[in-house]
């Protein structure tokens, strides 16, 4: 079996300027902090970032930046594709200053666009956004009398995900509200990096112990920690 366990620095080494990355997390909860730290340390530029939101800045958490806010604070993101950016004012200010661009999708649409990319679908039809500015430039289909927007798949070069535990093959599980975008993002990128709090040996636990198939995962990084409140 191929060894997937690497250090955080090794895992992010192939991410380069201009890449598109997706990072799981909801206002930082469920984000792989050790991978984000390693990426900031490496210091790539001009990323397109796909994430639910802009994470939380240190002023909000009272300690350090949480989630993708680390990448935004470090000036590494040119374009964010998200559903909500209001909790990280750097994005709105960056857009005003012309240093950063954003694209917004409804949260459910964002999840389905990512899932579509991972599931080999040509897109999804959603009633969300019909008759709003979200529909501008998009095809509308009427099915059994109801209007739907055609939303296209959203794919990335890299996905950075977080697990509570996994095995050395990459089968993984997330607890409570850390799940959010982890599963769909692990399906929708060329290279998937998983940071996990615990890593078990293959066969150490019953297969039903895990929620997501390890076939999606390319690299596993040990040492993800609980967020200190």
């Amino acid at each position: 079996m191929k060894n997937k366990i690497v250090t955080a620095a090794e895992a992010v080494a192939a991410i380069k300027d201009g890449d598109t990355i997706m990072v799981s997390g909801f206002l930082g909860t469920g984000s792989p902090e050790i991978l984000l730290d390693a990426l900031v340390e490496k210091g790539v530029k001009h990323l397109t970032l796909i994430a639910n939101d802009g994470g939380l800045r240190a002023e909000f958490t009272g300690t350090t930046d949480k989630g993708v806010a680390k990448l935004i604070t470090a000036g590494m993101v040119d374009h964010i594709i998200a559903s909500h950016i209001g909790m990280n004012p750097d994005i709105g200010n960056g857009a005003l200053a012309g240093t950063m661009k954003y694209t917004l999708y409804p949260q459910g649409t964002l999840a389905e666009k990512i899932r579509a990319a991972g599931a080999g679908l040509g897109g999804v039809l959603t009633p969300t956004g019909v008759g709003t500015i979200v529909a501008e430039g998009k095809e509308t289909l009427t099915i059994e009398g109801k209007e739907y927007l055609l939303e296209l798949p959203l794919h990335a070069d890299f996905a950075l995900c977080r697990a509570d535990y996994c095995d050395a093959f990459g089968n993984f599980a997330m607890l409570k509200a850390t799940k959010n975008f982890n599963h769909v993002m692990a399906m929708a990128a060329d290279t998937v990096i998983l940071a996990s709090e615990q890593v078990f040996e293959i066969g150490e636990k019953d297969p039903d112990f895990y929620q997501v198939a390890g076939v999606y995962v390319d690299y596993i990084v040990k040492g993800e920690k609980p967020w200190q409140i």
């Binding site: 909860t29 607890l175 799940k179």
Partner: protein, 218 residues
Amino acid sequence: MADIKARIAARAAKEFKDGFVANLGIGLPTLVADYLPEDVHVVIHSENGFTGLGGVAKKGEEDYRVINAGGGWVTHMPFANFFGSEESFSIIRGGHLDATVLGAMQVDEEGNLANWIVPGKMVAGMGGAMDLVVGAKKVIIAMQHTQKGAPKILKKCTLPLTARKCVDMIITEMCVMEYKPEGLTLTELHPEFTVEDVRAATEATFIVADDLKAMEEK
């Protein structure tokens, strides 16, 4: 102000039936949970990925894995279930949510809703709002009747819409309005106000229900 919010939240709580699955927006809508009768058990859905939201977590008892959609530390009920965003929004769009309570910047005669963006101002993003108002079986707008005297219930929304024809009911400190086949209808009036007061604070044309009721005094 606290009284007005309590009045609106208490009235919205009456729309909930035992066993409802509901999503409450941040702010005033969150207060609705505090006014549910003891025999009405509601499963609160949190769009970041669970059903069975509890309350605000006590200081020192926070679980770093459990936040609400506003990023606050919360608790969960014993019957809670946690899932990914794809499933969270399948619950919303798939018709598994009985009701949602949200605030609004503007609502109009046709039930169009605007509550996510003001052109020229800093954009926050729609988050889950567009999915919620399209997917929930009942969309209740809980808000103050006017924005510092300026009507919010309009003939036609001027701000970009969150969704078309999605609102079922409006609850304010002045009254309750419902969208009926014959049009926007005033169904309950708070004793502090007259129908003329409501007309003066409302740009939209509305019908007064034949059986206009008094909104519970609070």
